[in-house]
Amino acid sequence: MTTAEVTGPVYLDALGPRGPYRTRVPSAVTDVSGAEVARLSLVPPVYVGRALGALRKAEAVPAAGLDALLAAAGEEFATGTVGGLGVREYEHLVSRTSGTPLTVVRAATRGTARFVSLARSSAEQGRPRGAVSDRRDPVLEAGHAVWARRGNVFAVNASGNHPGVHRLWLEALALGYRVAVRPSRREPFTPHRLVGALHRAGVREDQLMLLPTDHRTADTLIRGADRAVVYGGDEVVARYAHDPHVLPQGPGRTKILITADTDWQEHLDTIVGSVADEGGTACVNATAVFVEGDPAPLAEAVAARLSRLPALPPEDARAVLPVCPLDRARALGSYLRSVATGTRAWLGGEGLVDDLGDGSAALRPAVHQVVRSSAPQLRTELPFPCVWVAPWNRADGIAPLRDTLVLSALTRDDALLDALLAEPTIANVYVGDHPTYWMAPGVPHDSYLSDFLMRSKAVAGAP
């Protein structure tokens, strides 16, 4: 089949309590070349306030029939025509605006559909074994706990780096929260489609909304919700670090550790894939690789593999690298150059911008070797395949491995694994030949979302 091109502007309306809402002058959504491809209605604060009021008054999506509803929504998302867009048109637009390779977008469509259909059971995985979901559960007679929401309205200030980020908030909906999604202005298509699919499957307009806003109004949304997840950089994380109502999702700083007892050459596919699959734009892509011993051969091998990746427009079926507007690519390039001072460039030292000639550029991979495991560069996470390779030894200990979303450990050292699991700032530990981006429904991403959304309430003497 040929690529699906859309003619004429696509309108992405807000999806509010009274259905679609279009502003007087919708904001342009541009693709990686700067061409306008859609018009997104950014709602003003007064609209957000009214929408939050309606969410607060709405009932939770009933648990009865929820699995069937979610399955239907997943199917609709993956195959239906939603908001006037067929799935191929949708995927083309996501690819052109976010710069994510089309094959990555397509795989994400199928993956998201699966996550949608399993959202209820995934959310259930986080329920403490002492708590029941329903107070009518007979086990309560003995005096137990009921799993209860900490609030009613959940907001997500989403990012546009990967369509998969929208899998998370489905669990909030499944847990009975009424949900407002603020889409990324760069890639609003995925949440628009997902919210539309869920509406069509039976979720009411006052239970789930899409509220696109400008940056300032986003704060009105986050503050007005009982619980919110906010994606962003270190600044966002710092801003909400002490706000118990907000769960910030910051840089992943995902890492791979290879100890001397393991031959990295047997795992080169996994290492390269962890860096560059998914376009290298996910928080679960590896930012740093630590090698016990000389890191140079590994850096050289990873660089050799990544140097072969072709620079293509994102909608090309063979594309694997992320694409962005040329000026942003140049800004990223000069930023990387300044950060990389004092390191050894195995790949990307001569620049990473591959001009595609239409105002966009592919971001070529970068592989740098740092001198020691405490090098500051190891914290620099950038939205393309960009990896720092460092030497590591036992004397360095756990310290360089801290502050990590996914740590893949290629090791046979049990004591070390125990230490990694015990480290509070490492969110997930994958052992052996698992790429860092591996995820599955029901497996926590940054702990169970329900740890943030739910509590256990003692109930005694309930009928």
Binding site: T23, R24, V25, V43, P44, P45, V46, Y47, G49, R50, L52, G53, S159, G160, N161, H162, D219, R223, Y231, G232, G233, D234, E235, V236, R239, Q249, G250, P251, G252, T281, A282, C283, N285, D327, R328, A331, L332, Y335, R379, T380, E381, L382, P383
Partner: protein
């Protein structure tokens, strides 16, 4: 001794004087060593033209450079034209909001206050505002012009005014520092004060800033009360985007006329929304002849924008008491034709100048 001013310069807003003639009279007054202010006389030599000879009408006001930055530190006594002699009645010194650094200062003399209040009063009566109804104004007072304009308008319409004060500079500071919790607490504090008044007093006219009206939209008891008994809402002091205006007019306050007010300190008065516009039409503000002239220009070239196009708002204030020509505001607006063949432009859908953001790199993938 008081200098005998040409009567044209004493004209009220209803006297229908020719604006070009008024401007010429103002040039003679402000640049005559016997009558001009120290501020303008000190600057006359620095001008590349002779205002008394070269400014022949409203259009020639654009010869002036924008000197308003100097109003940040000029002694206010220097602003009062000498021609008033000892008879100058200084009522207020107003500060600009201070978003672009230290505030700029202007003076309000008694004669100007009467002209300003008269034109606001006239426009509000054209909007059908009730006479003698009780007002609640929720707007900054003290050094801020907007609260003064509203309270004098209430008085002029025979309405006893209740008011809630606010400190916009503190709020701006909190916003800039990212202290949104405190912004929220302060807004709650204002809403609580308004609630006590709205629920216990018979309020016929509510005048408030846009953020406050947006905030009222979340308070069911206040909405019921306002929609039930308030006869008009005046909004001003800040911008209101067209979507918000439409939502407030049709969904939040469907039963109350919403009247926009656009003013700023350098204008020394406020412009009222043109009468008869629906919530779906652009909110048009006409100039106030012969005192306040507007033009909408391309911010880069200074060329006049086309009618219907957006550009930067340039404001000139010309009165016997003050001359503030060619002041580039931090506002953009659509250029419109003014009603009644008035000089210069009218403006619509006034919005803040967008902040320019360079391409910066924030680490992380989001």
């Amino acid at each position: 001794m008081t200098y005998e001013s040409p009567t044209v310069l004493d004209a009220g807003p209803s006297d229908g004087v020719d604006p070009d003639e008024f401007v010429r009279a103002a040039m003679r007054w402000h640049f005559d060593p016997a009558t001009g202010s120290r501020y303008w006389l000190d600057r006359a030599d620095r001008l590349a033209f002779d205002p008394r000879r070269d400014v022949k009408g409203v259009d020639d006001l654009m010869l002036f450079p924008d000197l308003t930055d100097e109003l940040r530190d000029v002694p206010v006594a220097d602003l009062i034209p000498r021609g008033y002699g000892g008879g100058a009645r200084l009522l207020n010194v107003f500060d600009s909001g201070g978003t672009t650094g230290a505030p700029k200062r202007v003076v309000q003399l008694d004669d100007w206050m009467r002209h300003s209040t008269e034109q606001v009063d006239q426009r509000l009566r054209e909007h059908g505002l009730p006479v003698g109804a009780q007002w609640l104004t929720v707007a900054p007072t003290g050094p801020h012009l907007v609260g003064d304009v509203l309270q004098r308008a209430a008085g002029s319409l025979g309405g006893p005014g209740l008011s809630i004060d606010m400190d916009p500079r503190w709020v701006k500071k909190l916003v800039a520092a990212g202290r949104s919790n405190e912004v929220e607490s302060y807004t709650d504090h204002l809403v609580e004060q308004c609630r006590r008044i709205l629920l216990t007093q018979e309020i016929g006219v509510l005048a408030a800033t846009t953020p406050l009206l947006e905030r009222f939209a979340r308070e069911d008891d206040l909405l019921e009360r306002i929609n039930g008994s308030v006869e008009a809402i005046i909004w001003g002091g800040t911008h209101m985007d067209p979507d918000t205006r439409h939502l407030l007019g049709t969904e939040v306050f469907p039963d109350v006329p919403l009247i926009g007010m656009y003013g700023n300190t350098m204008m020394l008065t406020a412009l009222l929304e043109r009468v008869g516009l629906s919530a779906a039409e652009p909110c048009v503000f006409d100039p106030v002849s012969p005192y306040v002239f507007l033009s909408v220009v391309d911010p880069d070239t200074g060329e006049r924008a086309e009618v219907g196009e957006r550009g930067q708002v340039i404001v000139s204030h010309v009165s016997k008491s003050m001359l503030i020509p060619n002041n580039a505001e931090r506002d953009t607006a659509l250029r419109m034709r003014p009603a009644g063949g008035q000089a210069g432009d009218a403006v619509a859908d006034v919005a803040p100048v967008p902040t320019v953001q360079g391409e910066t790199v924030i680490e992380g993938v989001y």
